[in-house]
Every structure is written in structure tokens, then in C-alpha cells.
């Protein structure tokens, strides 16, 4: 009926985010377009290799008049407090992914640990967005 194509997260700095998502997480750039008619708005999307039809928009926090200054501050505060949302990633081998990402400089806030649903870990992007990286247990084995 319908599918998830793109979801958006706020980032403090698009260049910093781009470096993190590509160089450290190993995602690929799907779009990177700056549009003069939109006040040089930059549409920047990335996604995991092999998932070309799913993208994350790395969206800069807008200035007025798109977003008023007070709201922008509120968004920044939510991000700083870790309440701006979470992206849930799955992997076949969380220990291997954890070690690879850690080697590349990703700072984990939770190391892989057994949970009822699988082995779960967590890290943050430079803006404070929360990511969970999970090796989900086969449903039959839960």
C-alpha cells in the first residue's frame, strides 16, 4: 500500500553530519542539492549501502521566517537533551558492526548487550541524535 521512503532528522551542522554519516557510519549520499530559489536551502540525504530506496534527510535547523528563533532554540534544546528522536538500525552481526564503527570513531553510549529481543547497542550522531544498532533475534527464538 505504501512504504517509507524518507525520514528527516535535525542536525546542527550539515557538513559535520555528512562526514559522520558517510565516513564513520559508511552511509552513501543519495542527494546533495543546494537550491538558490529556496534561499540556498540544502537538501542532503543519505542511506545505508544497498538500501537506495530509503533515505534520511539531514536537515539543518532553519532560521526565520521558515522557523522562528524561539522554536529553533527549542529544537536545539531537545536535540541537546537527546529527545529529538531515534533511528533504529538492525544488523546481522552487532558485535562486528560495533567494533567496526568504534574503530572509525563512533562513540557508543551502550555497548552490545543481550536483551529479550536480541543484542542491542546505542550511539549518538554529532548533533546528539540517538541511534540504536540491534541484532534482532529470530522471532521463533524469542
Amino acid at each position: 500500500m505504501y512504504r517509507i521512503a524518507t525520514a528527516q532528522i535535525w542536525v546542527h551542522d550539515q557538513d559535520e553530519a555528512l562526514e559522520f554519516y558517510t565516513q564513520k557510519l559508511g552511509m552513501e549520499v543519495h542527494s546533495d542539492v543546494t537550491v538558490p530559489e529556496m534561499g540556498n536551502f540544502r537538501w542532503l540525504t543519505v542511506g545505508p549501502p544497498g538500501q537506495e530506496d530509503v533515505s534520511i534527510v539531514l536537515m539543518a535547523i532553519p532560521s526565520p521566517p521558515v522557523m522562528d528563533a524561539e522554536t529553533a532554540e527549542q529544537v536545539k534544546t531537545l536535540m541537546a537533551k537527546g529527545f529529538a528522536g531515534t533511528v533504529f538500525l538492525t544488523t546481522d552481526d552487532v558485535q562486528a558492526s560495533y567494533e567496526e564503527l568504534k574503530k572509525r570513531g563512533v562513540e557508543f553510549v551502550e555497548e552490545p548487550e543481550e536483551r529479550p529481543y536480541g543484542i542491542d547497542s546505542a550511539f549518538r550522531d554529532p548533533s546528539g541524535n540517538n541511534f540504536r544498532l540491534t541484532e534482532v533475534r529470530e522471532t521463533a527464538n524469542v
Partner: protein, 168 residues
């Protein structure tokens, strides 16, 4: 120690090329990942995957470069470096040999990246809205109602607004 089929080591090299193509990786690095000597590695890789490791790594990079030419407005040189290649000249030559057209001509054969990117209407609506917000009819309004972002007190005519909307 458990027996590991040799193709598993070769796959490690292939995975490295897939994951880290944007770094200045060379066939030597792939051979190291497979724990084989360079000459032996190239032979074995070709046997297992049907092409040389050099060809695999290069085409991996060219595929990403083609995607970036279609989906971004970055320059050809920027794209060349961002897929791990070091020389724009060699990049252009390899790309042209592979795709039959130069990177610039390849890009020109697709819609502009801003259309390819399919920026959604809600984003256009938010960002393409004209920034000047004081209209002639607002001149009598209390200044405190204005958010102070208007630079032009002279107003903003309907034509400007129409043109801005067309941009969206």
C-alpha cells in the same frame, strides 16, 4: 582453529572495497585484508568473482560517482575525490570508457539534480517563500507586529510573489 574457505578471505577484501571505496584504497590494501600476496590475491579474486580486484574497486567507485552526478550538484572534481580517486584526468578517462560519455555529458543527460532529488512540496513551501515580509498594506501596522526581518520597507509586489511561486 576452524577451517575457513579461502573465498571467505576474498569476500573480506570485496567487503572492504564496498565499504571503504571513498578512502584512498589500493589493491595492496585489499590483498592485505584477504591475507594474501598481491599477485596471488589478484588471481584468486578473479577466479572467485570473475573480474580483477582493480576492476571491481574502480567500477564500485564509478557507480558511486555516477549516482553523485545524478543526485547532487557537486563538481566533477569533488565527486572524483569523494569516491576515493586521486586524479580528475584518470577519473574522466575511466568514466568515459565505462559509460560512453564524459562525466559532464552524463550529468547533462539527466534532469537537474534539484529535480532528481525530489525535494517535497512542504519543503519548497517553507523555504521558497519570499523572505521580505512587509507589504504595502502593512505600512500602517504597528512595528511590534513585524518580526524585524524585513529589509525592504517599500513593499513587495504581486509580480515578485508570482515569480517566487513559479520557482516552487
Amino acid at each position: 582453529m576452524a577451517f575457513v574457505p579461502s573465498d571467505r578471505h576474498l569476500l573480506r577484501a570485496k567487503d572492504l572495497a564496498d565499504a571503504r571505496y571513498f578512502e584512498p584504497l589500493r589493491v595492496d590494501d585489499l590483498a592485505r585484508a584477504a591475507k594474501l600476496s598481491r599477485a596471488h590475491f589478484s588471481r584468486e579474486f578473479r577466479r572467485a568473482f570473475g573480474e580483477s580486484p582493480h576492476a571491481y574497486l574502480l567500477t564500485r567507485r564509478l557507480e558511486r560517482a555516477a549516482a553523485l552526478l545524478r543526485g547532487t550538484d557537486r563538481s566533477v572534481a569533488e565527486i572524483c575525490f569523494s569516491v576515493g580517486l586521486q586524479s580528475v584526468g584518470s577519473f574522466t578517462t575511466s568514466f568515459t570508457r565505462t559509460y560512453g560519455v564524459s562525466p559532464t555529458a552524463y550529468r547533462a543527460s539527466f534532469p537537474p539534480a534539484s529535480r532528481h532529488a525530489l525535494i517535497p512540496t512542504c519543503v519548497w513551501r517553507a523555504y521558497a517563500r519570499p523572505q521580505r515580509r512587509t507589504f504595502r498594506e502593512d505600512n500602517g501596522a504597528r512595528r511590534s507586529d513585524d518580526d524585524g526581518h524585513s529589509l525592504d520597507q517599500g513593499g513587495f509586489d504581486v509580480q515578485d510573489r508570482h515569480r517566487a511561486n513559479l520557482g516552487a
